[in-house]
């Protein structure tokens, strides 16, 4: 049975209490994107400054939510700042792969298709691995990433 320490790793609580890149950027030039988790009312607002190649030069986060959504956003901001579109895409896929439910984490459940997880270092983000043992919280952890993907898509459109 998964325990609380699987979910609330020390590093998660640290990002929750001391969120990185908190704040706003002037729009324009920054792009503002909002993400909602309609189930629990969590809300995230990303401010993204892009470099000339479409990479994320700077990022700020505001909004409100639980420790998982807020710490995931904080860790994400640290991981993607200064990265190219290709690098961010790889990170996103690696993170999403980690957040998908595998047969050994949910009794009796099997994944329909294997997820191709790029071989990249997730660093601090690894701490969120335990979230898959609490399926209702997965949406909290992926909210920031989905919002970022939406922002990158809007910027390239």
């Amino acid at each position: 049975m998964p325990g609380l320490e699987d979910l609330y790793r020390e590093i998660i609580l640290d990002h929750y209490r001391n969120p990185r890149n908190r704040g706003e950027l002037e729009t324009p030039p920054a792009l503002r994107v909002e993400g909602f988790n309609p189930l629990c009312g969590d809300e995230i607002v990303l401010y993204l400054d892009f470099d000339s190649n479409g990479g994320v030069a700077d990022i700020r986060i505001s909004g409100q939510g639980c420790s998982i959504s807020q710490s995931s956003a904080s860790m994400m901001s640290a991981a993607v700042k200064g990265k190219s579109v290709a690098e961010i895409d790889e990170l996103t896929r690696a993170f999403k792969a980690m957040m998908s439910i595998h047969e050994n984490t949910l009794e009796g459940a099997e994944t329909a298709e294997p997820i191709d997880a790029p071989d990249v270092k997730l660093g601090d983000l690894e701490a969120l691995r335990g979230v898959v043992k609490f399926p209702v919280r997965i949406k909290c952890a992926t909210l920031a990433w989905n919002t970022l993907a939406q922002g990158i898509e809007e910027a390239s459109a």
């Binding site: 969590d42 409100q64 609490f134």
Partner: protein
């Protein structure tokens, strides 16, 4: 401060609810989410099981013995519900899937037939989405106007401008009790004001009907909606009470079998009430289960249910305040007489999701989220709350367990 006498013995009561004897995470379950759905007593489980084992057949069709027994059992349930809420006739009791369907039925069927562009529907700031969205749909479709009764700073309806809000209105639709704040609204005052203004009144009784004696004549309500699953009955069954003359004049909602008198190639005529609004094979087992729930609640006595909840509300508020002081903020009216046993709270500045996750490890089941009342959340200036809610089978040991688990939650996050 707890001064009220509790007429209900918690231990004996819990023994009638099989689920309450289970454990989660190796601890006895502490179920504090009855505002979402209640647990079911053995009497209800047995009634449904018995239906399937001994008289399972379709109703209002077969002339053979078990079909007649099933029909009788279902119509007996309707009579029990009728008496439970003081309706004049069984024709006024329409079985729906849940309260949401009942509210939609009035908006779609009565609303479409009687409302046109610019007509006013008055709601309140504490409504559940089920009593908001059906009206928004008519704003989009017909162009009706919505007006909102505001709240005072203790989460009660502010009726100062009620007559102005109702001026020219066609419908007043409000909840009898908030599923977030616990506030019990002065329904009679509201329906009287509506009638004076020439508006019909619909009451969302989801949170009130399970917890206190209900009489639609005394409430003065034209329509009343509630769900079986919050009053010890099964899911999949709800009730729309409607005044007979209003229902008679209303067009049907869904078409199909059961709701017709005659069908020809060039049209149809509708069945009489209440079946006119019950298209297709009904939720027979669930209706019978709801009947059993009503009988069971009658056995306990609705006045006892209410007295029990007032006593437990006093205990809950005083215990949480004594143990946590300023660390906890309980929303809604402070007086137990003005509220039901629903406690939305903020604790230690923690997010409700995190609170309920830690409480779960202590086998304490509470709700976290916006409770399907986003406009109210916005008014309160919060995204979500944690909510504990009690019913007839809860007692002071459950509240003590909640307080202990909150203690542990606070400690966990301040490590």
């Amino acid at each position: 401060m707890a001064v009220s006498v509790d007429p209900i013995d918690g231990t004996a009561m819990k023994a009638q609810f099989p689920l309450l004897s289970r454990e989660v995470h190796g601890k006895p379950i502490v179920y504090l989410d009855s505002a979402a759905t209640s647990q079911k007593p053995l009497a209800v489980l047995d009634a449904m099981d018995d239906y399937y084992r001994t008289i399972n057949s379709n109703v209002h069709r077969g002339v053979y013995m078990i079909a007649e027994e099933a029909t009788n059992r279902m119509e007996l349930a309707r009579a029990l519900v009728r008496d439970f809420i003081g309706a004049r006739s069984s024709s006024e009791i329409i079985f729906t899937k849940n309260a949401t369907e009942a509210l939609n039925m009035v908006a779609q069927s009565w609303g479409r037939a009687n409302l046109s562009a610019g007509d006013v529907v008055v709601l309140s700031h504490m409504e559940h989405h089920a009593n908001i969205v059906p009206w928004h749909m008519l704003v989009a479709e017909i162009g009706i106007e919505l007006r909102w009764i505001p709240l005072d700073n203790e989460g009660r309806l502010d009726l100062t401008d009620l007559d102005t809000l109702l001026n020219g209105a066609k419908v007043l639709s409000v909840t009898a009790m908030s599923n977030v704040l616990g506030t019990m609204n002065p329904v009679r005052t509201l329906t009287d004001a509506a009638r004076k203004a020439g508006a019909i009144s619909m009451i969302d009784g989801c949170q009130s009907v399970p917890h206190s004696a209900t009489n639609v004549q005394e409430l003065g309500a034209d329509f009343l909606a509630f769900s079986g699953h919050k009053m010890c009955g099964p899911t999949g069954i709800g009730v729309l009470y409607g005044r007979e003359d209003l229902l008679e004049a209303m067009p049907p909602f869904l078409g199909g079998g059961e709701m017709i008198r005659d069908v020809r190639l060039d049209g149809f005529t509708t069945n009489e009430l209440p079946w006119k609004f019950e298209a297709g094979t009904p939720a027979i087992a669930e209706i019978i289960g709801l009947g059993a729930a009503v009988e069971w609640l009658n056995g306990v006595g609705m006045d006892n249910v209410r007295a029990h909840e007032i006593a437990l509300t006093e205990y809950t508020i005083s215990t949480l305040h004594e143990r946590f002081g300023d660390r906890i903020n309980i929303h809604g009216p402070s007086s137990p007489a003005e509220r039901g046993g629903v406690f939305s709270f903020d604790f230690d500045g923690l997010h409700p999701h995190d609170i309920s996750q830690v409480l779960d490890q202590h086998a304490v089941c509470v709700r976290a989220g916006h409770h399907c009342a986003k406009p109210l959340m916005k008014l309160l200036g919060i995204g979500a709350t944690a909510r504990a809610s009690v019913y007839v089978y809860n007692d002071t040991t459950d509240i003590d367990a909640l307080a202990d688990a909150l203690d542990a939650t606070g400690a966990f996050f301040t490590l």
